[in-house]
Symmetry: C2
Subunit: 392 residues, 2 copies
């Protein structure tokens, strides 16, 4: 590295020491604060495109400004079906009932006393990247921003189900939220007894209202709306309830007219976050290509990047340690010579599943759905350095 060869494109522009500004602060600054805020110079926000019923709305994480694998709680995407309820935790209870031996009700204080678990997991809306099927959007925030990754802390659902004594006829649970529409999802008992967290904390502090305060489900690797927010009730039942979110929504109509239903797992997927749509590279030279990969089935095993439109692929490096069912940051050093190029990433998870091309995904699933898109995204860098969605 002593030669400076790798970074010369950047460093060539840096060697003018006349740029040093020595007029920095010479006075006392602000004093310590009880609860911090970001710099007023930082403006990155969730993208919201609100309809006439904004309470059934969504916001998207600014992935183009993301660092590492964690999503700040203040920038974690939101998706609501009847808005964010205001819940006083001292009045909130969780009921576990149905086909169980001992129905129980928990206050939040009681939940806090139970054995806890913390894990880092992604949450992705089933509708994330939904417009990539037909009319791709311009930025990575809009194509992939219904995605976040946090450290979640709470109680294992399996522990509580063991305590209430699930009866052998109970094959599913219904999880219900305390929002105005009482959103609910049916989840197979096998998953309920596996690795679901009843989460009351996110990224080291109490979960935020828009993420389900005071308590939500975190259902590792499964589609976002199964992670029921403002959780008030879990009922053990013998069959799914076929509610709105598993019939009119989140079910994919296949080319043969059959319905692809209860496709809970979010399959392996990746996206390049830099450079991405609407970026403008200032000129030829060194850049680091970086992005995120994830799989609902466990660890990401490898990410490959193509800078020649998919003809050849290079292995990217990972931020370590990788966490299973979490965002995985990948990076690849790149020297741009100023020509038009198309950048793609594709990932492979630990089951050997390979992220499909957009064409292969459409061939297999048709165009009758807006859900569960996990195809490859392509960014075209023009010779002037501007970047756009290559499928747009």
């Amino acid at each position: 590295m002593k030669s400076g060869a790798v970074l010369a494109g950047v460093l060539g522009a840096c060697a003018d020491s006349g740029k040093v500004n020595d007029s920095g602060p010479r006075t006392l600054g602000d004093i310590p604060s009880p609860y911090g805020q970001r710099s007023t110079y930082e403006k990155s926000v969730r993208y919201t495109n609100l309809s006439v019923t904004p309470e059934a709305g969504a916001s998207r994480t600014p992935l183009q400004d993301s660092y590492g694998i964690l999503t700040p709680s203040s920038l974690h995407f939101e998706r609501h079906h009847s808005g964010i309820p205001t819940i006083d935790p001292s009045q909130h209870h969780l009921l576990i009932h149905g086909m169980v031996d001992r129905p129980l009700v928990f206050s939040m204080e009681e939940i806090f006393r139970l054995p806890s678990v913390s894990r880092i997991h992604f949450i992705e809306c089933s509708g994330n990247s939904g417009r990539e099927w037909t009319t791709p959007e311009p930025t990575v925030q809009r194509t992939h921003g219904m995605l976040g990754c946090s450290e979640w802390t709470g109680v294992s659902l399996s522990l509580l189900l063991s305590e209430v004594g699930v009866q052998s006829e109970a094959k599913w649970i219904i999880a219900e939220g305390a929002d105005g529409c009482k959103l609910h999802r049916s989840i197979p008992m096998e998953k309920a007894m596996d690795n679901i967290i009843i989460a009351y904390a996110q990224n080291g502090e109490a979960i935020r209202p828009e993420q389900g305060y005071p308590v939500r489900l975190v259902v590792p690797g499964w589609e976002g709306n199964t992670h029921v927010k403002w959780l008030r009730r879990i009922k053990a039942v013998d069959q799914p309830y076929m509610g709105r979110e598993e019939t009119s929504k989140y079910t994919d109509l296949m080319p043969d007219g059959k319905a692809r239903q209860f496709t809970f797992v979010m399959e392996a997927k990746s996206v390049i976050t830099f450079p991405s749509g609407r970026d403008k590279l200032p000129g030829p030279g060194f850049y680091e290509i970086t992005g995120l990969a994830w799989s609902g089935r466990g660890l990401i095993k490898s990410v490959e990047i193509s800078i020649d439109g998919g003809q050849s692929w290079q292995e990217a490096q990972f931020q370590e340690p990788r966490h299973p069912v979490a965002l995985t940051r990948f990076r690849l050093p790149w020297r741009w010579e100023g020509q038009e190029v198309t950048l793609r990433s594709r990932c492979i998870d630990e089951t050997g599943y390979v992220q499909p091309s957009r064409e292969a995904l459409i061939e297999a699933r048709g165009l009758n759905t807006r859900y569960h898109y996990n195809g490859i995204t392509a960014w075209r860098v023009s010779s002037d350095g501007s970047v756009q969605n290559a499928y747009a």
Copy 2:
């Protein structure tokens, strides 16, 4: 678990289904927001005890309310020597000069273009737990709150030093901040070429002003004030500068009158965060003892907990995966029978170093310093459930 034996102390109090409040929200709630805030029901804040010159002040992380291993940026402790400067990133530059072949100046835009790295590390003030030497404080926030753990993203200092070409005579670097006092620390070249990050992001977004916006050093495992904030200058030199923060401060006067100087590494340490000082257990029954352990030398290998005043020790469980030079969350299920007990934790790091007792630490170091305390802390639970610092 079907018997409910482990959790009966909690669940016995939960079995009254008359407590279910079904008057929850039936209306539409709030709509998605650009940048989120926590619930208005959450009041946990940094503890600040400001002096007549509050700009040379500190705040402490509320560890009693911490979850998992991450510290929210809004609650990460602060320690300033001349307050928090307001810095416009478009005007900020980093100069690397001194005994180098090619002095360079970087704008923030240029720094963002370079190869990046993200790692989770703790930062602990050298003065954390300083009053445990003589007059222990009442709460874990006040005893251990000058401690935080974040995912930091930035550029490897070693990469930039390689690019400028450090000359063989240069044995140290001086890192200088842009705050009013131009705080600076001398750091040996061996560490500078090892694993230091020039960090511009914390927990997935731009670093906060009180943590050094737009760019700081993160010096894994070393005392907090070496992690120079608002970094403006790195100079390669042949000897340390013996500045204020390494002579009148952060140097320990030993019993024999000699000075223990440049003791950069924060040795292995742990503390129980629940139950801790000023908690009040509501009654006998099941509780989870939990806390944090860390070592400047790498991974925490084990944490043991004593509930009998140090006569016997039980192995705690870890949140996995553990990260090196990061906070490590430990947990131990516990049934309190209502008797007076004293709780202690002690950790062992991967080098085999064992966290010392308070008595052993005082024996070795004397009482002439307020820095580098890493002895065992003891919490006494009285028979009425109240908890206090056993050394107070």
